[in-house]
Symmetry: C2
Subunit: 205 residues, 2 copies
DNA sequence: GCCCTTGTTGATCAGGCGATCAACAATTGA
DNA sequence: TCAATTGTTGATCGCCTGATCAACAAGGGC
């Protein structure tokens, strides 16, 4: 009557297992949104029991918040690293192109879920605010640098940064819901933002 | 052993009961978002059993979708009725002021939940697309009328309408999450949209 | 080769969700 | 007054969520 030997969950060092869980959470969030990051979904993906997931992640709220932060902060860091050495105008151009080229619907799904879930998960809400501030900061710095270089005419870089951030988020969410993620808005966003910073309409296209 | 007489749910004609449920769903959605519209929450609010709610509303997905549609369509109809007779410029001005004055956080909560829940509720997703189209249509008509009157310089009214819609939705969601709904963005939105349609920056303020 | 540490499991709990159905009771019509 | 209609309930089902804990077993140290 002895139990058959378990075929699942080969014993692994905690660091490795923990990394597996973190990776699974990220993948799950990018594929199906933060709402899909549940104990059992993670367990199935990693190939272990939900009890083990709970053992490594004592709070799902915290894991979801951390997963959101990792994804968004990672993306922002990537973009900043890619555009750090450029002139403000080139930087803004690449930044706008990156966030509105329609290939980021996975990240948009994460943002949309984060907005909704944030009202029931205070840790997530805090992370959302943090990441919004980070994005706003990068945009504001770009606008300020551009204005200082005499290239942009941004009267209020802080406000303009919030506006552009809202524009990007809104249009991304819109195209996700309305067209499933792939919308052919041409370079409308690039032209709009160009006008807003006092550049010729095609300066960022 | 007879049951004590029930103190709840006085017998009411179906039409009245149905209206109660619809009203409760609307109130619940505006207070706490569409995610709060559940069988038991409705039952408690109306003062009946969840079984009765299920009897009147055989599908919660359908009720949620209907509630969303009622709220958003009602708001749009209200705004249109209020601005129908105005010139395009005055109409756009009032429209922009209405949707970005910070007193509509309840409707914003509904939108944010709708975006997230729409991925699991196809009827809701369809309603979201429908209401987005309706808003876009009103904006587009306004831009077209303004251009025909020689007041706006809207090259592509359709695209511009989507852009403005995205801007409004994004900024509303942003201020909801970031500042709890009340953000002092001044008339940044009005100035931005004014520029986008070729008006002086303060034309819509 | 054995023991002890510890990674992992299975079972289970409390709570939420939508949904169903026989039975009850309030009202209406005859 | 009695019977038929029908609005309403209580109990329950299946499925999901996060979380807990005793028991098991794999592996390293001795």
């Amino acid at each position: 009557m002895s139990r058959p030997p378990s075929t699942r969950g080969a014993r692994k060092p905690p660091a490795e297992r923990s990394a597996e869980i973190t990776d699974a959470a990220r993948a799950l969030a990018l594929e199906s949104g933060l709402a899909a990051v549940t104990l059992r979904a993670l367990a199935q993906r990693v190939g272990v029991t939900s009890a083990l997931i709970a053992h490594y992640e004592p709070s799902m709220d915290a894991l979801v918040a951390r997963t959101f932060g990792d994804i968004v902060a990672g993306e922002l860091a990537e973009i900043v690293a890619l555009t750090g050495a450029l002139t403000p105008r080139e930087r803004l151009k690449l930044l706008v192109q990156t966030v509105s080229d329609g290939s980021r619907t996975d990240v948009t799904v994460v943002w949309v879920d984060a907005w909704a879930l944030g009202r029931r998960n205070e840790q997530l809400a805090a992370s959302v605010r943090e990441q919004m501030d980070a994005w706003q900061g990068v945009l504001q710095a770009t606008f300020t640098a551009g204005a200082r270089a005499g290239d942009f005419s941004a009267a209020d870089p802080a406000q303009l940064a919030w506006l552009v951030l809202g524009l990007i988020d809104g249009l991304n969410a819109q195209s996700l819901v309305r067209w499933g993620g792939a919308s052919d808005r041409g370079d409308l966003v690039a032209r709009t933002i160009a006008v807003l910073v006092g550049l010729p309409a095609d300066a960022l296209s």
